[in-house]
């Protein structure tokens, strides 16, 4: 239960005003508040003399518990010094063997026994650090547009572009692994076209490949 007293009544309780100084309509409230205050036992609280001793006895009993001591020994951090005495060649041999195992495992993970195709290529791409890159080509009249490059093993069925309306723009967004990639668009399944908005290099077969660099912050023409 709580009572919200008028501010003037609160000043009365604080001793700043007397009952006579309250407006007449507030005096009953003031008298009730004073009666309530007078009814409270204002004698100082004294703690029993034996309380300290009881509390300390309980603390000592807990501290002396063997279970707790064992738990503390198991969990408390401590300094441990280990000394190994080895011949240098064993370290080199061990390190090289470990490196060989790591490289073999990495090779195996990076090179599946069969070439990835279609959706498999996409899944593999997604397993690396990759960035979404939007590819756009203006190809009015095209019936099919795809993009292929080093990021999808030059698979012309892995990434099809969708027409963006009827204005001849084709677009798709792909997760491309971080790194530098060469790519080209394939129009109607047989015409390889470099990206007119990207730098291009000789592909070694008499055509041009576009170049895109994917860095952690996004794609750059690098």
């Amino acid at each position: 239960m709580s009572a919200q007293y008028h501010p003037l009544v609160k000043r009365l309780l604080d001793g700043e005003l007397s009952l006579a100084e309250l407006p007449a309509e507030l005096r009953p409230e003031g008298e009730a508040a004073l009666r309530l205050i007078r009814s409270v036992d204002r004698a100082p609280v004294t703690l029993p003399a034996a309380l300290d001793a009881r509390v300390m006895a309980t603390v000592r009993r807990h501290a002396a518990s063997p279970v707790r001591r064992a738990w503390r020994r198991l969990t408390a951090p401590r300094d441990v010094e280990l000394r190994l005495r080895v011949r240098p060649w064993t370290v080199w041999a061990g390190a090289l063997a470990a490196a060989a195992v790591v490289v073999l495992l990495v090779n195996r993970a990076a090179a599946p026994s069969s070439p990835p195709r279609g959706p498999g290529t996409q899944a593999r791409v997604g397993s690396h650090d990759s960035v979404y890159v939007r590819f756009v080509l203006y190809a009015p009249g095209a019936r099919r547009v795809a993009v292929a490059g080093t990021f999808n093993q030059w698979d012309q069925n892995a990434a099809l572009l969708e027409p963006a309306g009827t204005n001849g723009l084709w677009t798709t967004t792909l997760a491309v692994p971080v790194g530098q990639h060469q790519y080209a668009f394939i129009v109607d399944s047989d015409r390889w076209v470099p990206d007119p908005r990207a730098p291009a290099v000789d592909d070694g077969f008499g055509r041009r490949n576009s170049v895109v660099a994917v860095v952690a912050q996004g794609a750059r023409t690098l």
């Binding site: 063997a97 090179a111 030059w154 390889w192 592909d203 077969f205 660099a213 023409t221």
Partner: protein, 224 residues
């Protein structure tokens, strides 16, 4: 000496399975993607390339690309062989630039630079000036991209040198190709764009390069 012999033995033992695994990887990755004669030829070229300590991944990629583009087998093999030679040439250029044992990334960057039109000497010079905090592989790729955008090799090298000499951050180098593209889109030739960027670096060291192509500048305000 005993320890040294043991270490060498361990190194050789560790290397043999790696080379064998790499060769098996070439065959597996090309299987079904290129004709059998291409697969055999690329396998041999890759083995020889790996034995010289050069990366084989670009060779595999090139063969797969040729297969996807339905390029005749002899031309695919020729392209892969040419790329292997370029990797060799790149390594020599890197060596001349001061890198004794370049990693795969730098070698590939060097080959990319040579493919884009930079000469071996320019490649070496670029590597020589790309000391930390600059990364030679990144510098090579930036320069190659500038060349691919049509910036002549000499202007490419001049621009890179001016950026590095002015102490621009490595990430500023990465922004150069897009800055050139922007200028070209505004009407400048690639040469004008590169020269303008280089002038901007010289006149305002420590700031991002900014270039306005001829005829694109805002008129100076007239005093009343």
């Amino acid at each position: 000496m005993t320890a040294l012999r043991s270490a060498l033995l361990a190194a050789v033992s560790a290397t043999i399975p790696l080379v064998l695994a790499g060769q098996g990887d070439v065959t597996a990755r090309l299987d079904g993607r290129v004709p059998a004669e291409v697969m055999r030829a690329v396998h041999d070229i890759a083995a020889a390339t790996a034995a010289r300590g050069l990366p084989v991944e670009p060779l595999i990629d090139k063969a797969i690309e040729g297969g996807a583009k339905r390029v005749p087998a002899d031309r695919v093999i020729a392209a892969v062989r040419a790329l292997a030679n370029r990797l060799d040439e790149a390594r020599r250029a890197l060596h001349d630039g001061g890198i004794e044992t370049p990693g795969a990334d730098v070698v590939e960057g060097g080959a990319y630079a040579l493919s884009a039109g930079l000469g071996p000497r320019q490649t070496s010079e670029l590597v020589r000036i790309s000391r930390p905090p600059y990364d030679p592989a990144t510098s090579l790729r930036v320069a190659a991209t500038l060349a691919a955008l049509g910036v002549p090799p000499k202007q490419t090298l001049d621009l890179m040198e001016s950026m590095i000499a002015a102490g621009r951050s490595p990430s500023d180098l990465l922004d150069l190709p897009s800055a050139v593209q922007t200028s070209v889109a505004q009407g400048a030739t690639p040469t004008q764009a590169a020269n303008g960027l280089a002038r901007g670096v010289v006149h305002a060291p420590g700031q991002a390069p900014d270039f306005v192509p001829p005829g694109q500048a805002k008129p100076h305000p007239h005093k009343p």
